[in-house]
Symmetry: C2
């Protein structure tokens, strides 16, 4: 570990500007979401992940993998969201240790209410600043990295 392959100028610019962009964007979007809806940014992500599924349900560990969250974070967060009525937990028949998180009617209502403001902000800060081909390049690139993250270590 002593002869590290440092980043060259291109690599460093790409990585650092991406990180700073992300920090700034997350800050803005989290503030917007909190101001205009009852959802936090993490709440929003959980609900988005659940609505990705046709039945709006997912095993806890899978949700954790998708979001890249520690299991205890997820457990606490889902507990809070359950108290607020945004999701419920259901037992899993095939694995009695396991549980599903399921989005509720109320959860759907809240994310639908939050979505317009959020999407508008995403447009203003990100999407509308870029060309279609830049957006495609981002999508493809992120897809590659995500696939790599899914590989076993």
């Amino acid at each position: 570990m002593d002869d590290v392959q440092w980043l060259n100028a291109h690599e460093e610019r790409a990585w650092r500007s991406l990180q700073f962009m992300q920090m700034r964007l997350e800050g803005e979007l989290a503030r917007q979401l909190a101001a205009d809806s009852g959802l936090s940014y993490p709440d929003y992500f959980v609900l988005v992940a659940l609505t990705d599924r046709p039945d709006g349900r997912m095993r806890l560990f899978e949700l954790g993998d998708v979001l890249g969250w520690e299991k205890s974070r997820l457990s606490h967060h889902v507990a809070r969201m359950t108290e607020r009525g945004l999701v419920t937990k259901e037992k899993c028949d095939s694995d009695r240790r396991g549980a599903f998180v399921v989005i509720t009617k109320r959860g759907r209502k809240e994310i639908e209410a939050a979505a317009p403001g959020h999407v508008t902000a995403v447009r203003r800060l990100f999407v509308d600043r870029l060309t279609p081909s830049q957006l495609d390049a981002i999508g493809e690139t992120a897809g590659i990295v995500l696939a790599a993250l899914d590989e076993p270590r």
Copy 2:
């Protein structure tokens, strides 16, 4: 706000995969950093921002802008980092409300110690998965978005 311009398929893919990539990457990198060094991911960012400056100092509000952090978050975080000896605060002569954050010797030492492992992880998870032109595209794109974020609202 009732006729929202929703994202089309390309835009949505780009935005969502970028967000999920970021969440996953941040999770992995934060865990790596915590395991291999005494720094958290936020600590690392603060120190990187400071080492960007030739004199290793920055006004608090400016650091907050660069990172996209609330001022109170920054204030608390800098206070903790000060206690650990990673940075110090110095009064500002030209504006007596103000203060500078300055990286200490110890801070430089810690970030230099943490950097190799971090960079190696960044390579493994991100940089090495992409071609030079993909990286350049990312860098340019992020630069555009960052510039837009700097515009007055």
